[in-house]
């Protein structure tokens, strides 16, 4: 569904994407994980035509985004990191304008808006002004809006940033539901648990470079199944073990203070880059 080959993008002297290459298969829920400033949003912005690429090539469903950007855009839906709804318009007007931008007929716009408002459980909010909606409702509306023209690929740029835990879970369920309808999802996040919960496959990005990719299980299993955190002299470190027994034995043989837990994607990222995802 997505093929990126040696994508390079810089802002002035800052290199945002450094010869990035990756593939995303049709129907996949793919997560791009990395700290703020790693290049996640830049990748989405380039793929969506919001930013120019300096060099390289990118294809969406076989369409070269530089040679036929309008055709590529028709295949995509986009949920941006910031709530980019028209706050002075109603929920329905936002959906209707989006449908018009994508060339839907009057009946298609009406049917799609009704369907996707019901999908995000906002049918009763159609006449509400967006500025009166909470952050969680705005995020759900953004997902509905991105689906109105029935894209085959949905970009979600940090879809739960700034949302509380309960609403974040609700958005996750919605994202899963969309993916189960056959929509390929390209998700960027710096929330470890979001990538672990949602993604079929994860890629780590750090300083514009792809560090590693694989399923969450593969990435975590490369370290082990269990971790012990040690806090000594104001610093922390983690040791990794293939099973719970050896991890427990390590705690018992140590000087005390070890905390047992499961290995997570943060550990995998840290071991590969020397940096935490959440810095």
């Amino acid at each position: 569904m997505i093929l990126i080959d040696n994508l390079r993008k810089s802002y002035g002297h800052t290199l945002a994407l450094d010869n990035l290459s990756l593939k995303v298969a049709p129907g996949e829920l793919f997560a791009f994980l990395g700290p703020n400033g790693a290049g996640k949003s830049t990748t989405i912005r380039v793929l969506n035509g919001l930013s120019f690429m300096d060099s390289g090539e990118a294809y969406i469903a076989g369409v070269n985004i530089a040679q036929d950007p309008l055709k590529a855009k028709r295949l995509c839906g986009m949920v941006a990191q910031s709530a980019n709804l028209d706050k002075e318009l109603t929920v329905w007007e936002n959906l209707d304008i989006h449908g018009r931008l994508y060339g839907l007929s009057r009946s298609e716009r009406r049917a799609s808006a009704e369907e996707f408002l019901a999908y995000v459980e906002m049918s009763d909010r159609a006449d509400h002004f967006v500025k009166t909606l909470s952050g969680g409702l705005q995020r759900r509306l953004m997902i509905a809006r991105a689906l109105i023209h029935r894209p085959t690929l949905l970009f979600l740029d940090e879809p739960t940033v700034g949302l509380d835990a309960a609403i974040r879970r609700r958005v996750w369920s919605l994202v899963k539901k969309v993916n189960q309808k056959g929509v390929t999802i390209f998700l960027t996040t710096h929330y470890i648990e979001e990538a672990e919960f949602l993604a079929d496959r994860v890629a780590f990005i750090h300083e514009g470079k792809l560090v590693r990719e694989g399923t969450p299980r593969e990435l975590m299993d490369s370290l082990g199944a269990w971790a012990v955190d040690w806090y000594e002299d104001g610093t922390s470190r983690a040791d990794f073990f293939p099973d719970r027994e050896s991890a427990t034995a390590s705690i018992q043989s140590g000087r005390g203070g070890g905390v047992l837990r499961r290995v997570n994607l943060e550990d995998a990222f840290l071991s590969l880059t020397g940096h935490k995802v959440l810095q």
């Binding site: 028709r74 028209d86 002075e88 931008l101 994508y102």
Partner: protein, 244 residues
Amino acid sequence: MSAFWAIYLREALIMKHRLLRQLGGMCVSPLLYTVTFGCALGGAVTIGDKSYLDFLIPGLVAMASMTQSFSIAGEINVARFYFHAFEEFQAAPISRLSFVMGESLAGLTRALVAICIVLALGFLFGARPHVGIYFIVAVLLNGWAFACLAVAMAMIVKSHADQSLLTSFIITPMAFLGGTFFPLDGLPAWARSILQVLPLSHASKAIRADAFGESPELWPFLALAGAGIVFFVLAVSAVSRARD
């Protein structure tokens, strides 16, 4: 066509939702100018065989069509820098041409509403300008040219503060020096030759001629159309620059 209409409709809906506030805002400047310059200061002044109010109202029409169509730049900037709604257009499969056409038509719509207010206020205070086809064509050309300039500027600036500076340095001086409040004929030749180049001077001249029931010259229309085409091309090319 659908995309162009979507862009226009979005601006029209925003205007509709704010209509009362917007109409109120559009009334303030023309009302102040009409009362202070047209009636109080200019009450005893005649220009040629016309009262100053009769002279002023066509100038205010030209000025309002410029300022209100240019104000679409502010709307685009709010959408771009504060609400990030402009990203929705950038990610959508629409051409640059559709975007510029939609936004410039929205600017022109504002201009047409504004000149209706100016004419109504003028009528209230006793002015009776002739509103013929040349008057309307000049207003449309002027509004369209400045709406296209507004779109171009809104795409080129990097912040809302930059936009305010452009308004201060381009639109405000032109509003006062473009033949709105006084005839350019009375100025020294060097000043007249500079100010006559301004698009607003051409608009004032063409609108005023028709308002006085005279046959306007052709060249102000050609100058406005030329400016409009240049600003339109500039706007279309500037849309790409808004990408980073």
